[in-house]
């Protein structure tokens, strides 16, 4: 996956939800690299994105959206202009 910079609005939302400084929100940030990103935090991330951008993710894909890059790609797929 190419490492594009994370747009400011997404970065601030993820920083608030994951409770980390916004500088730490990189495309590579994932459930593997951030210990506090557990399954409940993941649900909160999904709900925050769905609420903010007015989209709904397929529940079968939700468990795989485990990094910032993957979330960004899934949003782009839904036609969200970040």
């Amino acid at each position: 996956m190419t490492s594009q910079p994370v747009p400011e609005s997404l970065r601030s939302l993820l920083a608030d939800t994951l409770d980390i400084p916004s500088a730490e929100v990189t495309p590579e940030l994932s459930t593997q690299t951030l210990e506090s990103w557990d399954s409940f935090t993941h649900l909160q991330v999904i709900l925050a994105l769905e609420g903010e951008y007015g989209v709904q993710f397929d529940p079968q894909r939700i468990p795989d959206l485990t990094s910032v890059a993957k979330l960004q790609a899934a949003l782009a797929e839904k036609g969200v202009a970040l």
């Binding site: 939302l13 608030d16 939800t17 409770d19 409940f40 649900l43 909160q44 709900l47 925050a48 769905e50 609420g51 903010e52 709904q56 529940p59 079968q60 939700i62």
Partner: protein, 653 residues
């Protein structure tokens, strides 16, 4: 709605306040940030700040900290920040812990279960229908199923057993959440509506029976989730996608309404309801201005455009019927208002007799409300003020911040009742007989005041009242009334300990303890159960833990009669010494000299146990307190003593 720059600014002030451990600044920032349409991430930030600041938030005036245990069979984690913040803004700091997903029975019943180890102040039981009555959808499939009633009954029994066992083993106050009535079944809406045992009917019946069970358990509230879901649209209440994949029971857009409604139910378990509704008249009680439009010109009555006002009047009368005191606070000529209530009686849903007090004059309304607080012997935090004039409303907010203010939407008077329904001002879990008789009792109080003003001396006045006191066990107060007194008596309250029903039950069950209430009546009326005392005898010493009396009846010797009753019973149990405790609060100065006035002497307490209380002692051998001569005691003393201590009465042996 806040724009992005305002949000960022508020987030920064919240961060700064958190870093500086400044709870009141943090609360102010949260209050501004947590507006109805706020972002989920803002709620999470506020909930985190609340956790960080818990220590100093606890010290905020009026803040109550509650260790909260949630027994659940659904995913509640993403909703917790909403619940914590909603509760915080209602003055409740929830420190939450969660039970396991599939272990709700164990959590509630097992001696090693979650409830036992969490030892919480508050227990929330949030279950899914599937876990409690999983067979119901199939049993209801043909709509005539004969096994449906039995299945509902057995689910209710199962839940009743869990709740009663939690009640017996824990001091926590309990909220039991009901179930959302499914908005569709395989019968379709027509079959659901017409067949006797459709699924919606079965679940509605389950809810109704569960509510009854909750009402029979002390300190247990039923949370009507179905009414809430219906209010917001049952079809949109749950996001099936996330319920089926993650067991999330509430759709994200309903998190805030859910948390607010649950908080409102929790609040009713801890915060006393307000007691007085002060209403403006012009543009509020009726349309138009009496002084300008005249008696025939004001808008009211059972036809439009009078109806919104007529419905408001009916609502007020309904509140009065359960003990909310009404006061008219209006800038008008009193004679004009009296004429309006007479000449337009047919168009008004209430009469002047429905009011406990009238403040119709040209004084500042803040002064009128202060006078009312004094005349009714109630704190300003018991008052609600309703007015259409933004200037009057703002003046009360500024000068009397304890008073809750509601502004009437002048252009849309039909919205007023909805606005009132959104406020928790008059929320109660139980209504007692004393509530129902409150207005009559306040009127009797006014007659007594008139008599007192004309009587020669005090003893003559007191004798002329014909006061009769009856003592009973606090369990027969009834218990709900005893808990109500403990919860809301502020002024004549020696220690202001806000015990729960379970605490009172524990006192009553102890043979060495006394838990008594006093009921009072005189020739003007029945004041009902107005006083309570808790005491415990150990060896030769009886210690009075709590003693309180409704301020309506102070100064008539009833407090002395209550003390005499306690003392005589303590002597009966073998005590030779009475210890009284006075724990000063912001409001209980009227009770400060109670023990010295009754011959108690100051008693230095154990310096190894730090305490803000003052202690007093009385030697019962030389100073047994006696009931004042103008008070008649009613009922068999032996039975009353037995009733208050748990000793089997002689009569029943």
């Amino acid at each position: 709605m806040l724009d992005d720059a305002q949000r960022q600014e508020l987030k920064r002030s919240l961060q700064a306040a958190t870093a500086a451990n400044d709870a009141s600044a943090a609360l102010a920032a949260m209050r501004a940030l947590l507006e109805p349409d706020c972002k989920p991430s803002d709620v999470q930030i506020c909930a985190r700040a609340a956790t960080t600041l818990a220590g100093s938030l606890k010290q905020q005036p009026g803040m109550q900290s509650l260790r909260t245990f949630l027994v659940r069979s659904v995913t509640i984690e993403p909703i917790l920040p909403y619940l914590q913040t909603a509760a915080l803004l209602s003055g409740l700091l929830l420190e939450t812990s969660l039970g396991g997903f599939g272990s709700y029975v164990d959590d509630l019943l097992s001696p090693q279960g979650g409830l036992a180890s969490a030892n919480p102040d508050l227990l929330l039981v949030l279950l899914d229908l599937d876990d409690v009555a999983g067979r119901l959808p199939d049993l209801c499939a043909d709509g005539v199923g004969s096994a449906v009633d039995a299945e509902v009954a057995s689910s209710v029994q199962h839940l009743a057993h869990l709740l009663r066992s939690a009640r017996a083993n824990s001091r926590a106050r309990i909220v039991m959440q009901g179930f959302v009535v499914p908005h569709s079944s395989s019968l379709g809406p027509v079959g659901d509506a017409n067949l006797p045992h459709s699924l919606p009917r079965a679940v509605a019946s389950l809810n109704a029976q569960l509510a009854q069970i909750c009402a029979s358990i002390s300190d247990c509230a039923f949370f009507d989730l179905d009414a809430l879901a219906a209010h917001h649209g049952r079809a949109r209440w749950t996001d099936q996608r996330l319920f089926l994949s993650s067991r999330l029971p509430v759709a994200a857009l309903n998190f805030a309404p859910y948390a607010n409604a649950l908080t409102r139910t929790i609040r009713a378990l801890y915060k006393p309801a307000r007691k007085v509704l002060c209403t403006d008249l012009d543009h509020t009680m009726w349309g138009g201005v009496l002084g300008e439009d005249g008696v025939q010109g004001i808008v009211t009555g059972a036809t439009f455009p009078g109806t919104p006002f007529f419905l408001y009047q009916r609502h007020l009368k309904q509140l009065a019927s359960r003990g909310i005191l009404l006061a008219a606070v209006s800038k008008n000529n009193e004679a004009d208002v009296r004429e309006a209530f007479t000449a337009r009686a047919a168009d008004l849903a209430l009469t002047l007799d429905d009011f406990a007090a009238l403040k119709i004059n040209w004084n500042e309304k803040s002064q009128s409300i202060r006078e009312l607080a004094q005349e009714l012997s109630l704190g300003l935090d018991s008052f609600v003020f309703i007015d259409d004039n933004p200037v009057e409303a703002e003046a009360i907010r500024q000068r009397l911040p304890e008073v809750a203010v509601l502004e009437v939407p002048v252009a849309e008077p039909w919205r007023l009742l909805d606005l009132l329904a959104d406020e928790p001002f008059f929320d109660v879990l139980r209504v007692t007989a004393d509530d129902q008789h409150r207005l009559t009792e306040y009127k009797a109080q006014a007659q007594r005041a008139t008599l007192e003003a004309t009587a020669g001396d005090r003893d003559e006045f007191l004798a002329s009242l014909g006061i009769v006191c009856t003592f009973a066990s606090a369990l027969d107060g009834p218990l709900a009334r005893s808990v109500q007194l403990l919860g809301k008596t502020n002024q004549f309250n020696l220690t202001t300990r806000r015990y729960s029903a379970a605490d009172v039950e524990a006192f009553s069950a102890d043979p060495a303890a006394q838990a008594v209430v006093v009921r009072v009546r005189d020739r003007f009326g029945d004041a009902g159960v107005v006083g309570l005392a808790l005491a415990r005898t150990e060896g030769a010493t009886c210690t009075i833990d709590s003693l309180l009396l409704s301020c309506r009846v102070i100064g008539r010797g009833i407090e002395t009669a209550l003390l005499a009753h306690l003392a005589q019973h303590a002597a009966h149990l073998g005590a030779t010494r009475l210890i009284g405790e006075f724990l000063p609060s912001k409001k209980n100065a009227p009770a400060a000299s109670f023990y010295p006035d009754h011959g108690f002497t100051s008693f230095p307490h154990d310096p190894t146990e730090p305490s803000e209380s003052l202690f007093f002692k009385l030697d019962l051998n030389t100073h047994l307190p006696a009931t004042p001569p103008w008070i008649t005691l009613e009922g068999s003393t032996t039975d009353d003593l037995a009733a208050s201590s748990g000793i089997p009465s002689l009569a029943s042996r």
